[in-house]
Amino acid sequence: MITLEDVSKSFGGFRAVQGLSVSIEDGEIFGLVGPNGAGKTTTLRMMTGLLTPDKGRVMLGGHDMAKEPLAAKSILGYIPDRAFLYEKLTAREFLVFTAAIYGITKNTAVRRVEELLLLLGIGDVGDSLIESFSQGMRQRLLFASALIHEPQVLLIDEPFTGLDPFGVKTLKDIITDLGGRGVSVFLATHSLHIAEELCHRIGFINKGTLAAVRQRDEIRQTEGGLEALFLRISG
C-alpha cells in the first residue's frame, strides 16, 4: 500500500533524508522512530505531497505522489505534529469543509461528522470555535478530519501530543482498529513505548538514513527492548 523508493531530500546543503526505502503492507502499522532532526517529519511531509523528494518516489495505493498527486492524496489521511487549523470555524464546520473538499456526499458526510465527533470525544464541543480548543482537543479534531473520508493510508506525526490518558487510549484503539480493517498506518514518534505497543514493524531513522527495520517480536526478544535498540542505533 505504501512504498518509498530511494527517497532523498535536502534543504540547502543539509541532507534531511537520504536514500530511504521501505514498503508497508495493507493493514500494517509501521512506526518510524529516531532522535530530533533525524528526518521523520520530512519523510512524512514527502509522503503527503507537502514536500517533493529530490530523488526517488513515493507510491500510495499504487499512485505515484509526483505523477498522480490527487489520486494519491484522495486515499490519504494525515495528522501533522503541529495543529494549524482554521481557527474561526467550529469543529463541526471544519469537518463539513474537510468532507466537502474530499467530495463526500451530504448524507454520508453528515453521518461521518457526527460519528467521528462522538468517537473522538468532542461531540459536546462540536459547535465551539477551534480557537478555543486545547492542544488535546485539536489533536482529536485532526484525527476526525483525517478519518472523515475513510482513508486507506494514515500518516501520523507524533500522534499523542497534548492528549490526556483517555485521549491516548481512544486513539490507540482507533489506530489498532484501523490496522485490523486493512488501513496502512505510518506513524512517526518519539514515544518508544507507544511505538512498541502499537506497531507491527519499527524503522529506526538517524541523520536522514533508515538505519534498521525490526519486527515487533524481534524487538521484544532483544535485551532492553526498543529503548536499548534505539539508543544503540541512534547513538
Binding site: L70, Y78, A100
Partner: protein, 545 residues
C-alpha cells in the same frame, strides 16, 4: 529579572537580522526612504519659502503650519499607540513565556510600553525629522534648536505613548482585547474621514486663490494652551529665530510626558494581570446563523469556509472601513463637481468626467481587490497544509477564490460607476460603455490580485489586513492601476478619433488599439494566475508552512 534584560530578545533579534543578505535586500527600500526624506525636506523648505514670503502674515502662517503638524499627529499617534499597545500587551505570543517567569508585572509593563512606543514612533520620527530640519534651514536656526527639537519629539512621543497605553488598558478592562483593537482601527479610519471632510469644508471652493486658502488654513488651526502642539510651538519657535524659548511650556511638555508615562505605568501595574487573566481563552460557541444546515460542494467549499471566517473575524473588518471611507470620499467628490461650469469650458466635459470617473473607480477597484482578492490565498494561513495534503488541485482552488471574489467586486464597481454617471446625467451608449469597462477592469484586476496574491503568499500573519499592505500588494496596486490607466487611455483615444477627428480612416488604428488592450488584459489576468498556481505547487517549506 528587570526590563532591560527583557529587552534583550528584541535587541538580539534585531542584531541577528542584520546580516549582509538582509541588508542588501533592504537596500533599495533604504534608498527609497532616503529619497523620501530628501523630497519631504525640499517640499517643506519650498513651502516655507513661499509661506514666509507672504506679506504681513507669512510668519504667522509658518507658525500655524508648525503647530498644525503636531496637532494632526497627536490624535493619530494616540490612536495608533492604543492599537499597538493592545497587540503588544494583550495579543503578543511572548506573553505565556513572560508570565511564567519570575518577572515582576511592572517590568513587563515597562518593556511592553517601550515596545509600543518604538513600534508606533519610528515612522513619525522619519516623517518629522526632515520637517524640523527644513524649518531650521529656512530660519537659519542655531544648533540649540536641533537639540531642543530632538528632545521635544521624544517627549511628544513619550506623552502619546503613555496616553495610548493607558487607553489600551482601560479598553481591555472593559472589552475583549481583539475587539478593542479592531474598533480602534475603525476609529482611525473615521478620524481620517472626518479630517478629510473638515479640511474640505474649511477650504474655499476656488483653490486657485492662495490668499483665501491661507485664510481658511489660519482659521482651522487650533490654538489651545492645553494641547501639546501649542507647548511644542511655544518652546521651539523662538529658538528658530535665535531667541529664548518659553521655558514654561518646555517644562509643561516635560512634566506631561513624565506624568503620562507614570500614570500608564501605575495603572498598568494595577490592571495588567487581571486583564490578562480575563482574556485567557475559554470555550466559545458562536451562533449558527446563516450557515446552519448548509453543506457545501467541492466548488463552494472555500466560499463556505472563507465566508464564515470573514463574518467571525473582526480583524478582517478594519479595512472595510477604509474602503467605505474611500467610496464616501469618491462619491462626495463627484457630488460636488460643478458640471454646468465645466460644460462651458469644453463641449466634451461630460466625456472627460466619465473618463476621470472610471480612473477613480479603478483606484477603488485596486484597493478593494488588494483587500479581498490579493489576500484570498494568504487567508488560508498556516492551515494551508490541509489543502496541500488533500486532493484539491491548487489551480482549481485559485479559480474558486477568483470566482468567489469577482462577482461582489464587479457589482460594487459597476454600481459606483453607474451612480456617479447618473449624478452627471450620463445616459445611453456612454453609460453602457462605462459599465462594460467597469466589468472588464473588475475581471482583469480581480484575476491579477488573485494570481499575484498566490505568487507572493504570506501564510504567517497575525492579521490578514497586514497582507494587503505588504510589498507584494503594493506591486499589485501599481500594476493594477497601470492596467486601469492604459484601458482608459486607449478608450479615450478611440473616442478622440471618433468625436474630434471624424471623417479620416482610423479603422486600422482602432483595431490595433483594441487588440493591444485585449493583449494587456489577457496577460494581466492569465500570467499572474498561472504563476500563482505554479508557486503554490512548490514545497511547503518554501511557502512558509
Amino acid at each position: 529579572m528587570r526590563a532591560p534584560l527583557l529587552a534583550q530578545p528584541m535587541l538580539l533579534g534585531l542584531r541577528n537580522s542584520l546580516t549582509a543578505p538582509v541588508i542588501l535586500r533592504r537596500l533599495p527600500f533604504a534608498i527609497i526612504g532616503a529619497l523620501f526624506w530628501l523630497g519631504l525636506y525640499l517640499a517643506t523648505y519650498r513651502l516655507l519659502s513661499f509661506i514666509r514670503g507672504i506679506e504681513f502674515m507669512g510668519e504667522l502662517f509658518s507658525e500655524r503650519l508648525f503647530s498644525m503638524t503636531f496637532f494632526s499627529l497627536t490624535g493619530f499617534l494616540v490612536l495608533s499607540n492604543v492599537i499597538t499597545a493592545i497587540s503588544a500587551f494583550y495579543l503578543s505570543r511572548d506573553l505565556p513565556f513572560l508570565f511564567s517567569k519570575p518577572v515582576p508585572t511592572g517590568a513587563i509593563v515597562r518593556i511592553k510600553t517601550v515596545e509600543t512606543g518604538l513600534d508606533t514612533s519610528w515612522m513619525v520620527i522619519t516623517f518629522l525629522a526632515p520637517v524640523f530640519v527644513a524649518y531650521g534651514a529656512s530660519y537659519g536656526a542655531p544648533a540649540i534648536y536641533y537639540a531642543a527639537s530632538l528632545a521635544a519629539i521624544l517627549l511628544f512621543l513619550a506623552l502619546t505613548t503613555g496616553a495610548g497605553v493607558l487607553i489600551a488598558h482601560l479598553l481591555t478592562a472593559m472589552f475583549p482585547a481583539r475587539r478593542s483593537r479592531d474598533v480602534m482601527l475603525g476609529a482611525i479610519t473615521l478620524l481620517f474621514l472626518a479630517f478629510y471632510f473638515i479640511i474640505k469644508s474649511a477650504l474655499p471652493p476656488d483653490l486657485s486663490a492662495p490668499d483665501a486658502v491661507l485664510q481658511s488654513f489660519t482659521r482651522f488651526s487650533p490654538d489651545s494652551p492645553f494641547l501639546p502642539d501649542y507647548w511644542i510651538t511655544r518652546t521651539l519657535f523662538p529658538l528658530l529665530k535665535g531667541g529664548r524659548p518659553d521655558l514654561l511650556y518646555g517644562i509643561v511638555l516635560f512634566s506631561n510626558a513624565c506624568f503620562s508615562l507614570l500614570l500608564s505605568s501605575t495603572f498598568g501595574r494595577m490592571v495588567y494581570r487581571r486583564n490578562i487573566e480575563k482574556i485567557l481563552p475559554g470555550e466559545k460557541t458562536p451562533g449558527k446563523g446563516l450557515t446552519a444546515g448548509i453543506f457545501p460542494s467541492v466548488d463552494s467549499s472555500f466560499l463556505y469556509k472563507d465566508g464564515i471566517t470573514f463574518f467571525r473575524d473582526t480583524g478582517q473588518w478594519s479595512q472595510i472601513f477604509v474602503i467605505l471611507a474611500l467610496v464616501a470620499v469618491y462619491l462626495y467628490n463627484f457630488k460636488s463637481i460643478p458640471l454646468d461650469a465645466l460644460l462651458g469650458l469644453s463641449p466634451f466635459a461630460v466625456q472627460i468626467m466619465v473618463g476621470i470617473n472610471l480612473l477613480m473607480a479603478g483606484l477603488v477597484l485596486s484597493a478593494v481587490a488588494a483587500r479581498f482578492l490579493y489576500t484570498a490565498v494568504s487567508l488560508e494561513g498556516r492551515a494551508f497544509w490541509i489543502v496541500k495534503s488533500s486532493p484539491v488541485d491548487v489551480r482549481r482552488m485559485l479559480w474558486l477564490k477568483f470566482l468567489s471574489g469577482f462577482p461582489p467586486v464587479a457589482a460594487l464597481i459597476i454600481s459606483l460607476v453607474a451612480m456617479t454617471n447618473y449624478a452627471m446625467h450620463v445616459q445611453g451608449a456612454l453609460m453602457v460603455l462605462s459599465a462594460l469597462t467597469g466589468l472588464l477592469l473588475s475581471a482583469t484586476v480581480c484575476g491579477l490580485a488573485t494570481g499575484l496574491g498566490a505568487a507572493y503568499p504570506k501564510f504567517r500573519h497575525d492579521n490578514i489586513a497586514s497582507v494587503s499592505v505588504s510589498i507584494g500588494a503594493m506591486v499589485f496596486m501599481v500594476i493594477a492601476f497601470g492596467v486601469v490607466a492604459a484601458t482608459i487611455a486607449a478608450e479615450s483615444w478611440i473616442f478622440y478619433l471618433h468625436a474630434v477627428r471624424p471623417g479620416g480612416s482610423h479603422a486600422s488604428q482602432v483595431v490595433l488599439l483594441l487588440l493591444a488592450l485585449a493583449a494587456v488584459h489577457a496577460a494581466a489576468f492569465y500570467l499572474p494566475m498561472r504563476i500563482g498556481a505554479e508557486r503554490l505547487c512548490r514545497d511547503a517549506d518554501t511557502l512558509g508552512l
